[in-house]
Symmetry: C2
Subunit: 330 residues, 2 copies
């Protein structure tokens, strides 16, 4: 067992979180994570309507009696989804933990806190983490440059970002991005985090709904096999290296606009990758941590292996390095 401020304050067994993942954060995975004693999040916007989200939360409740949360990610969009209605669905469903990403959490907090909902804010800079803390979030999840999805525009990896944030953040803090095994978990704890958030690693488990071909590709990929797209739009995304992402990078380098790549990056093409295993159908999200992923375990195997290996690293390998000075030995 690894007990941290995060496990205590959020009432979960292990300091491991499966955060929001578009098309991936569905009831089966989230329930498996909960049943393994970790904290999973249903991704609100993967559900086509707020009512579908209500059903998905119900479905998850049937699969686990342990706590789980819902992720609500606000991203720049020409035709934004009805965020307020999704948020109301979360409140009405009695979910008690929400992960907010992509915007100032203040307005959401106003609505969520009166219902006793704990809010984790996901961000990519110390400045935004401090801002979120100042408006009253219950925890921050800080996402390094190595992460899948949206690393922000500052390019600060976890090895710097986690301790830099830890110097100033007083609420529980999760390290996100680049973590896929026990070594990463212990490193994050050493750097001052109270737990870790993992996306790519949970995507590559038995209970994840993505096509088997995607999981096998993650295992086959090394840390080198990602691309950063949308740099020119200042909305950078780390995605799998494939025909489509290379083409997007090429168009961006040549000075192309969003209009030039719009069709290539359609979410429906991404769905084809995840749902049908058409690996070159579109853009799909994965992180550099895929270089550390070598198998497709069940969620329970993954979580229990990470925790027991992390304990061994702390009480075994690391503790054995601490030697008495020679003078004190004799």
């Amino acid at each position: 067992m690894l007990r941290t401020r995060f496990t205590e304050e959020f009432g979960i067994e292990h300091p491991i979180v499966q955060g929001g993942m578009m098309w991936v954060g569905r009831a089966e995975l989230v329930a498996a994570v909960a049943n393994a004693g970790a904290l999973g999040f249903i991704t609100a916007l993967t559900q086509p309507t707020p009512d579908d989200l209500r059903l998905e939360i119900e479905r998850c409740r049937e699969l686990t009696d342990k706590p789980f949360g819902v992720n609500l990610t606000i991203l720049p969009s020409i035709k934004p989804p009805p965020y307020d209605e999704y948020r109301q669905a979360i409140i009405d469903s009695g979910v008690k933990i929400v992960e907010i990403a992509g915007s100032n959490p203040a307005t959401h907090l106003e609505h969520l806190k009166p219902h006793g909902i704990k809010v984790i804010h996901k961000c990519t800079s110390v400045r935004h983490a401090l801002k979120a803390q100042s408006v009253g979030v219950d925890a921050v999840s800080i996402d390094g440059f190595e992460c899948a999805g949206h690393p922000g525009e500052n390019d600060i990896p976890g090895l710097i970002l986690i301790p830099a944030a830890a110097e100033q953040i007083t609420v529980p803090m999760l390290a996100s991005g680049g973590i896929a095994n026990a070594e990463g978990l212990v490193a994050a704890l050493a750097l001052g985090a109270d737990g870790v958030n993992m996306g790519t690693r949970f995507m590559c488990t038995q209970e994840s709904c993505v096509d088997q071909k995607v999981k096998e590709q993650i295992v086959a990929n090394s840390e080198l096999d990602t691309q950063l797209i949308f740099r020119t739009l200042r909305n950078t995304a780390r995605v799998a290296d494939n025909e489509v992402s290379r083409k997007v990078v090429e168009i961006e380098k040549a000075g192309g606009s969003f209009e030039d790549i719009r069709d290539l990056v359609s979410g429906q093409r991404g769905r084809k990758v995840f749902e049908n295993g058409e690996l070159d159908a579109g853009i799909w999200t994965t992180g550099q941590s895929q270089g550390l992923i070598h198998d497709i375990p069940t969620v329970a195997e993954l979580v229990s292996r990470m925790v027991s290996e992390a304990e061994q690293i702390i009480t075994g390998r690391l503790s054995e390095l601490v030697a008495e000075p020679v003078a004190a030995r004799s």
Copy 2:
């Protein structure tokens, strides 16, 4: 005391290394590092001639009777310095540890190994670390994206690069880039390193020869205050954010060539920064770890603080997280 394979095999007290730094790796700093029980490296090419290097090594010997090494960095150059003569100066001076960076170490090994010299190879990818190991280096130092100077072109931060390398590297391994305190040291050890290499942190000590204004700027800077230059030349360097580096980035973005920036990046301009504290005179090297640097200690204070805090993190904070399951407690 922290004992690792690295401290044992290299005969030093602490698993902390001050690697090569142009204009910075001089006798006073290297001797202070040695006297503190860590491993310092004189930077060969900071000396104008191989004979000056002989004198610098002698000067260092007068300041310490502990082991130290010499760094030899091979970089793309139109008029390369006489590397073979520098190498011969190292051999003749009886130095027993050499850090090689920037090229295949095979030819150097051929010359150095017959003299009982241990060779550490510095590189930025798992592939190059494996190559170096296969040709017989005694240790590898693996440099993540967050590092000062030359991070390579793959952009893999230490949180991924260290454990990915640790899975395959069997010789002792140093984690380099982004480490400036005890938290980073413990994280690196957790990720599978046998020690850490620090540049920026040692540059910002009392015994470092750089102007006080540079040290104060490092303390003032955050992790955000660096720039990546020479990306377009595929010879990326992470340097301090200042007027000159911003101008270089601008010219590169506009499609400029090396000829267009040659004057701006002259080494003599960089010397003016380090030697006279003219912070905007030229390009100067610093890493993202500056965001974790808040003081200008003596080298002895720095090393002893890092080691004792690292011990406390391992035997205190981390070990206290490991709890018996509730069932086992009663």
